[in-house]
Amino acid sequence: MASEKTVYMDHSATTATDPEVVQAMLPWYSQSYGNPSSIYRLAGISRVAIDEARAKVATAIGAKPDEIFFTSGGTESDNWALIGTAFSHKGKGNHIITTAIEHHAILHTCEYLKKQGFDITYLPVDEYGQVRMEDLKAAITDRTILVSVMFANNEIGTIEPVSEIGKLCREQGILFHTDAVQAIGNVPINVATMNIDLLSLSGHKFYGPKGTGALYIRKGIRIDSFLHGGAQEKRKRAGTENVPGIVGLGAAIEKAVRDQDLKTSRIRDLRNRLLERILTEIPNCRLNGHKTERLPGNINICFEFIEGESLLLLLDHAGIAASTGSACSSGSLEPSHVLMAIGVPIEIAHGSLRLTLGIENTEDDINYVSEEIKKAVEKLRSISPLYADYLKKRS
């Protein structure tokens, strides 16, 4: 029998929609359901609701409302940012710089762009997962039109030197896009002072609804339309607006950045305690990512001699939801490209576990999860041939 207790520690995968957010969305389904493009009052109400949500998203990242464009999620924002600017700037050049540790929404879009004749440079990262400014500077050519570096990595939680990159790109007259899907609500963001030209975000990562997102496009940036059709989103992104979703996105981001410091320091404390317990109580494990430049809720740890998917299954059995970068769970049978990029040996990368804490986690969760991880790791090691060899070698 599986456990009755449940502890969710996979907030980087998705979050529960905040019940207050759901409440904010509800009126827009069956009562104020007007199509914002129509001209009667019912429609006008929807239009106003969208404008309010747009203002909230803008405020959260230091942008102006008319720089915010609603999309169906982080993936669409990333696709649009890259494809839309690549094609509209190809008169200037065909070179794009990104990193080896981006989300697949960036990496696979870059592969697509490569097929369309663009040159892509994938910057390496240091052992903690950070881009080195020297590498970026060295990669820039006079054909470089766009730099896309994520704000914070979804697997290891490393925060990139976004301000520095923004400054450099602005000086060089190169567009700078950042995938901030994991950063919103966790790290202070200001697109103006950080010199960000385009920024992607996704509602369901900060207690908002799935299927909602936005792309910030700095005023004056040339970008092709992404969806062709009606005149919505200043003709840049057609389609009847997802009014409840947009309202929910606005409500969620407003709440996410309110008291952000308080909330993140509480989560960081819990995270640090959990991390400390794991590292001291379980031998042969190591933390991946950066010690301090790290998302407050993120733990990414490798346990030697065991495999991540089986660890997840045991944890799931104990009611704990977590994630891994192991090949066996990915279906593609390749271990996490992020762990590879920071130089984790392939056999160790196999045993990686990602725990991402969020607002609803408690002290109790920390105790429960650390105990269960200890038990699970022991159990898997007891049947691992690698562990048996290790013990023999030691004795």
Partner: protein, 142 residues
């Protein structure tokens, strides 16, 4: 994602461990995902009297090891050799398509253990039949 049978064998693996004085040992690595399985057999009068495994791998790999060892225990070497990964998958009430290759590991491990035994006995190893799948499919997306 996994059947109840798989979960049962994963949670409570049968025949896990090591046989220090094994008559045959097989060790195989999965070329596609890098996992490792070790099979130990004891043989008496051409019958596998005991079998144990150690596995470093996913839930399917561990469950397949457990099931495969159950299936060959008490069988003749010929019968054990003939046991295919398909039989393991069937006994487990199915595996997700991306996980079928994990059961191949078990079949290969047993073959190696048997041949290890045969070589130690001064017999020539049996030959592998050609062609089983190491297919990949979907990748998860979050």
């Amino acid at each position: 994602m996994y059947s109840e049978k798989v979960m049962d064998h994963f949670m409570n693996p049968r025949n896990q461990g090591e046989i220090p004085d094994a008559d045959g040992v097989g060790e195989v690595g999965n070329p596609s995902c890098g996992d490792i399985m070790r099979i130990f057999i004891k043989v008496k009068d051409n019958i596998i009297t005991d079998v144990k495994f150690q596995t470093f791998g996913c839930g399917a790999a561990i469950a397949s090891s457990s099931m495969a060892t159950e299936l060959i225990k008490g069988k003749t070497l010929e019968e054990a050799w003939e046991m295919s990964n398909k039989a393991v998958v069937e006994a487990l009430e199915g595996l997700p398509p991306v996980k079928v290759h994990c059961s191949v590991l078990a079949e290969d491990g047993i073959h190696q253990a048997i041949n290890d035994y045969r070589i130690k006995q001064g017999l020539s190893p049996w030959e592998e039949k050609a062609g089983h799948a190491h297919g990949h499919d979907d990748e998860s997306g979050e």
